[in-house]
């Protein structure tokens, strides 16, 4: 006689219930498949032209020469993340060595340095006021450090723990003010937090795996943000309701970076599948792929120039590829880093862009001349 726990349910009702649940499940799965096909059909109906066709008559871009204008040295290990201050000259960066540094990019001076209690500080962000920075990583938290004018003051003393996730913090961003922070995590969720109280204001569930990146829509476009994850999906969320309002799944691997187009009507993504893609929110579909057969390494981060015409991508093969967003062609390839480019941001006034790398440095580049 088999042990009691190994016998099938003796109670007939339980057996019937199980069968009923399985039938409903099968029914739901069918409906799921039908809805997915219908979604694809609807999207395809409106796919009447390619972006580059619409841009055929647009004048091509000349050759670009962008030179490294500043090299920021000081981190003891891989640079994982960076962000610009709204003043267009200060930069915050975070590293595997557990340090978060605030730089004056004009002079290359280090203005502040904080040692985090964990290594792999994967995320950092500057507050809109310029008076604080947020960071986190393997500690599963996002902490805010007010920046003191007194260089001798120990910043760690004023540290405020804001977000708590159940896995690593992958990205963080202040919203329009210093009062709220949006985070994404290896625990598969994004969350909105009140900085002062540390209270969770809204959580965003829908990704099936680690969320690696997020970007807030430009303020004029309203309260939405986009996130990308290891489930190859890019999701657009309503910040107030917590609802996922649009979802895109065309990448073939993890999405490491997402960034809104300056008008807010589209966003770009960079992935381990070595491509960058552009998704238009009103057409509700992918409208361009930026790729080349010769590019086989993953994209770690992407950002647009001010007009949205150029898309900069930092790659794991140590290079930066610059794409003509409208025509879909590559206009420039930039060298200089001696290891993976892990993070890339264009400055707030669009005059320069900064990259951080596993080679421990950050480089600020600006245009040199147009040939």
């Amino acid at each position: 006689m088999r042990p009691k726990y190994m016998r099938s349910p003796l109670i007939p009702e339980m057996a019937t219930q199980e069968v009923q649940l399985n039938e409903t499940l099968a029914h739901l799965k069918t409906e799921s498949e039908t809805l997915k096909s219908k979604l694809e059909e609807e999207r395809a109906k409106l796919h009447d032209v390619e972006l580059h066709q619409v841009a055929e008559k647009v004048e091509g871009l000349g050759q670009f020469v962008m030179k490294t204008r500043r090299t920021l040295k000081g981190h003891g290990n891989k640079v994982l993340c960076m962000d610009w201050c709204k003043d267009k000259r200060r930069i915050v960066s975070s590293s595997q060595d557990g340090k978060v540094i605030v730089w004056d990019a004009f002079t290359t001076n280090k203005e502040h340095a904080v040692t985090m209690p964990c290594t792999w500080v994967m995320a950092c962000a500057y507050a809109p006021s310029g008076c604080a920075v947020a960071c986190g990583g393997l500690d599963n938290k996002c902490s805010v450090y007010p920046l003191s004018l007194d260089k001798n003051e120990n910043l760690a003393a004023k540290k405020k723990s804001v977000a708590m996730h159940t896995n690593y913090l992958s990205a963080c961003s202040f919203t329009n003010s210093d009062m709220q922070i949006l985070t994404s995590s290896g625990d598969g969720t994004c969350a909105l937090w009140d900085v002062e109280s540390g209270q969770l204001l809204q959580s965003f569930h829908g990704h099936a795996a680690d969320v690696l990146c997020l970007d807030l829509a430009p303020s004029e476009t309203g309260n939405t943000f986009v996130s990308g994850g290891c489930d190859k999906k890019a999701n657009v969320w309503d910040m107030r309701s917590g609802q996922c309002i649009q979802s895109f799944e065309t990448h073939e691997s993890d999405i490491n970076s997402v960034r809104y187009y300056p008008s807010g009507d589209a966003f770009a993504s960079g992935s381990d599948d070595a491509t960058c893609r552009l998704y238009d929110l009103r057409a509700d579909r992918e409208v361009a792929i930026y790729s080349k057969e010769s590019i086989i390494f993953g994209v770690s981060s992407v950002d647009f120039s001010l007009s949205g015409r150029l898309l900069f991508g930092g790659y794991n093969d140590y290079t930066i590829n610059v794409w003509d967003v409208l025509k879909g062609t590559r206009v420039s390839i930039l060298f200089g880093h001696e290891n993976r480019v892990s993070t890339l941001r264009v400055s707030p006034d669009g005059t320069a862009f900064c990259t951080g790398s596993w080679d421990h440095t950050l480089r600020v580049r600006a245009i040199c001349s147009l040939i």
């Binding site: 649940l21 409106l46 009507d265 007009s307 949205g308």
Partner: protein, 71 residues
């Protein structure tokens, strides 16, 4: 125990269907229209894009730092 798994799967499946229904109801415009608007935005803002147009060295905060020559 198997009933719990089945009800969990059920909840997940119900959520997925609900989400898909929401996404199916999104209003969409034609790519031709969306693409034209992306293109127009680029063109309208091109002249203000420093990384696209370049800026005179005197205006560029990241111009090369002035170097001293030693004779």
């Amino acid at each position: 125990m198997s009933n719990n798994n089945a009800s969990n799967n059920l909840i997940i499946a119900q959520r997925a269907v609900k989400q898909l229904r929401l996404e199916a109801s999104t209003r969409r415009i034609k790519v031709s229209q969306a693409a034209a608007e992306l293109r127009n935005f680029c063109l309208q803002n091109a002249s203000k894009d420093p990384l696209l147009m370049g800026v005179p060295s005197s205006d560029n905060p990241f111009r090369p730092p002035k170097s001293c020559s030693l004779f």
